[in-house]
Symmetry: C2
Subunit: 362 residues, 2 copies
């Protein structure tokens, strides 16, 4: 069973829920937009389905509702923000806006953010650059779920890499990828579908392949060893050390550069308890026009995308997808037809709504 | 059989070879340093073993020996260089130097380069930032050898991602990775060792896995379909679309942003012939001190590296490696003991030396 809700209704609901919990209206609105944008794009793992989990952080005091975002250090091309353990969405949004403003004047700019929280989908921030015909970059570290190459304990997050670049006729290129072989959300999704996961996604602390998705999920959040494998898988033969390297690269740019937690410490205290996120982010904006005329850039993007899409396909495949394409198509469809919610997600939201006296749209 | 040559002897030899072919002394010196640095670091695929191949480009007129590197566009935080189809090493070196100078003043800086040539190991440029306690980034596109996800024709290069970040006691972090499951050089290496390559590295144009390394190498350079698989392998199950996305991201930042060739066109003309590289590069320098005090950053890097290296290992593995570590250890050893050259490489160099009347060190 699936319930269909419009994006506007869903945003209104989420916003009210946050407001009832004492979240400031502007921040409630931003969180709502972040989650519903993920659902529109078909990234359900980071959509309203993650609201119960996000609220548990708010209620558990892991997010500072009175946070004041401050500029710690600044140059005409860079800024470091301190998010005061507030919402990742508020901090990410501020940082990206500053990046874009700076890049308007000087061509390129970087923002680092420290002491932040889970910021949802990385693309939410990088894509803001598209409206200004800029390339946007968004990176974050996160809860430790990924083992290093030759290791068997989760020491790094699924630390995503996101880059958005404008095109002309074609959809923009929007890469938004966990640097692990799969994100944690994909494992849960297999669980909900009652499907086994393939060997090569996760190992337990005895270094054995795991195929039961719910066993993987409970292992990941018990922090007792084992974890997701980096992109490229186990060992070095298929480039697992590359995925490990990408994850570590993201951790350096987000956690180390900003002065946030890194390695196994986001959302974890030094003695192994759950604590405030102290998450680090990294953003960049690159003005296309600092390098070449915008129309030339967009024409080249279109040609490159077309060349790839029209190139010969492997047997049984009817289409080559460019990154972001599936999500843009999904968004178009869901803006028109509404967002389909699993009964499980819908009833969880309904329960939260009842508790806080916010009617769930029906 | 292996011949041992010192780095200095080898540099002198390569420099003279280039000079005999009419290359300017400064550019000959830079190419020699680039190749020998790769050999010192144990990256033989990009070392002096690649000299015959690089010289064929020089002799074939694919590299402009009279190239003048020019600034096309500039802001205090960005620059676009035109390399005039000259050496990638000369262009990359200039671009990285400009980046570092700009980042000294303003914290961060990006350089794009168009109309360049194969620039050797990406790390050669990114690591220059380390001497200035900066983070360095180096990306390039390259000859099309990699198939897109669900495609069976090489449409993108092995487009490497390189990031170098300073540490304190520990070696710097130096990630330098092809975005394909393996670089082309690794396939050739298996060939020289007489070993089959595992299924999952390369497919032919019938979408079949290939295991014969010499068949792969000749397929790759005949440009008649098939190619290396992106990091994550075939299809989407193990994240092959992520490797494809990373390769495309690099192509956008290097080829499209700079106004160079992209997709299947570096070193290839529009009608499928071999042509000048028209390669694009992208560099960035990030001053650590624009974000936090250098000693704090280095202490955090050391702690992160130590945590990873000391974390529990999978059965049968004695060590967790940080990216760059193997190469720094190799360099240390080879600076002391000399660079061991395969008999095959040594005799190829000797032949070139005889032809151009440059004695090969013995």
């Amino acid at each position: 069973v699936v319930r269909n809700v419009t994006a506007e209704e869903l945003k209104g609901f989420v916003e009210q829920i946050y407001t009832r919990l004492g979240v400031r209206p502007d921040e409630a609105q931003l969180e709502a937009d972040l989650l519903v944008t993920a659902d529109l794009r078909g990234v359900e793992s980071h959509g309203v389905g993650s609201l119960p989990f996000r609220l548990s952080y708010v209620r558990g005091g892991l997010v500072n509702l009175a946070a004041k975002i401050t500029k710690v250090q600044e140059t005409p091309a860079s800024v470091l923000l301190d998010a005061d353990n507030g919402f990742g969405s508020a901090a990410g949004n501020s940082a990206m806006q500053i990046c874009i403003e700076k890049a308007k004047g000087i061509g390129v700019s970087i923002a680092a953010v420290r002491r932040s929280s889970h910021y949802g989908i990385a693309a939410y921030y990088a894509m803001q650059a598209l409206r200004h015909d800029m390339i946007g970059v968004s990176l974050t570290n996160s809860t430790p779920l990924v083992v290093p190459t030759f290791g068997r304990e989760a020491m790094l997050g699924t630390n995503p890499i996101c880059l958005a670049a404008p095109a002309g006729r074609e959809y923009p290129f929007v890469l938004d990828m966990a640097t692990s072989v799969v994100a944690a959300g994909k494992v849960s999704k297999y669980g909900r579908m009652g499907k086994a996961i393939p060997p090569g996604w996760a190992i337990n602390r005895q270094t054995e392949d795991m195929t039961d998705p719910s066993a993987v999920t409970s292992m990941l959040y018990s922090f007792t060893g084992g974890g997701l494998l980096p992109l490229g898988g186990m060992g070095e033969e298929f480039g697992g050390h590359k995925g490990f390297g990408l994850s570590l690269m993201v951790d350096i740019l987000t956690g180390v550069l900003s002065g946030s937690a890194y390695g196994p410490f986001p959302y974890r205290t030094r003695n192994g308890k759950t604590g405030p996120g102290n998450v680090g982010h990294f953003f960049a904006a690159i003005s296309v026009e600092a390098f070449r005329p915008l129309d030339e850039f967009k024409m080249a993007m279109d040609e490159l995308i077309d060349l790839l899409k029209e190139s010969p396909r492997v047997k049984g495949q009817s289409r080559i997808y460019i990154h972001g394409e599936k999500e843009f198509e999904c968004e178009k469809r869901r803006m028109k037809e509404g967002i389909p919610l699993d009964e499980e997600v819908a009833s969880a939201l309904e329960t939260i709504g009842k508790e806080l006296e916010v009617p769930f749209p029906s």
